[in-house]
Symmetry: C2
Subunit: 166 residues, 2 copies
């Protein structure tokens, strides 16, 4: 596993995987999740092989599919996007004919979102790739560990909104 | 929670926080971590208030500080960056006088990385902001939950490399 490229014993070796010193990062949750996301999103992009899809399209499409009539604002909050990003993602999905935006009849400032049949089909296909992309991650955890992980991540996510709510 | 569009007075209200249906995302680890990262990185960028810093600089600087002489390749692996990204991050840090790259005397293809005193000072200041940025997340977990979360995230991260190593 380690690489011994032309190196006499005293030179610095490639550090063993996952065994370098994390230093002050050791307790930084953001670091632990960021590096996983960097890997997963890169490998997903490679699997997906569609240059015209913005990151976040899969998650957004899935949430709208699961919550027909979802508001743009709630969607943004649930995927963690700011307004500019969610608008760009929605434009991207709409351009592909996957979702449609509809103004609420009772509050014209609100956009309600719906997935089209074409969007549902695209979602089903992407879901296969997402599961394939995460197969190794899931295999590395027992069912109980996976439950615990998701529950703890949800606690952390909810904490993002403490003191920020209206 | 179900959608009854165009039907006053049962028009869709803003969905309660964290209580929308996650649909097929329910078991997607990448979704759970991505939305946390979106929030944390946006609030960190706001706290940091330095437009000339690339995302990833803090983590990279911290890892080099904790592992003097770290190779560029190992750093890229530990933060989850591809080669182009790590080179851009290193250029950014070097331009600010925070790190220096040195070719290995025994293997000229390897770059060994070191933090300068100025870089250490910048790191110390950023670390304060990172901890402040994560304070709510940490407060939401017991000490035991935090340990479990980090351990499980590390298992997932290591799984990213299964079958990909040389």
């Amino acid at each position: 596993m380690t690489s011994n490229v032309k190196t006499p014993p005293s030179d610095i070796q490639d550090e063993p995987k996952g065994e370098i010193n994390l230093g002050i990062l050791d307790e930084i949750i953001g670091f632990r999740i960021r590096r996983i996301q960097n890997h997963l999103s890169r490998s997903f992009t490679a699997l997906l092989n569609q240059d015209d899809l913005r990151p976040g399209v899969f998650s957004s499409l899935a949430l709208v599919a699961a919550n027909p009539g979802l508001s743009q604002k709630t969607l943004a909050r649930e995927v963690g996007f700011d307004k500019a990003t969610i608008v760009a993602v929605l434009d991207n999905m709409e351009a592909k004919g996957w979702t449609r935006r509809q103004r609420s009849t009772t509050d014209r400032r609100r956009h309600l979102l719906f997935v089209t049949p074409k969007g549902q089909e695209a979602l089903d296909q992407m879901a296969i790739l997402v599961r394939r992309n995460e197969a190794k991650a899931h295999a590395s955890l027992s069912a109980e560990e996976q439950d615990v992980l998701l529950r703890l991540l949800d606690k952390v996510y909810k904490s993002c909104f403490v003191d920020v709510s209206e």
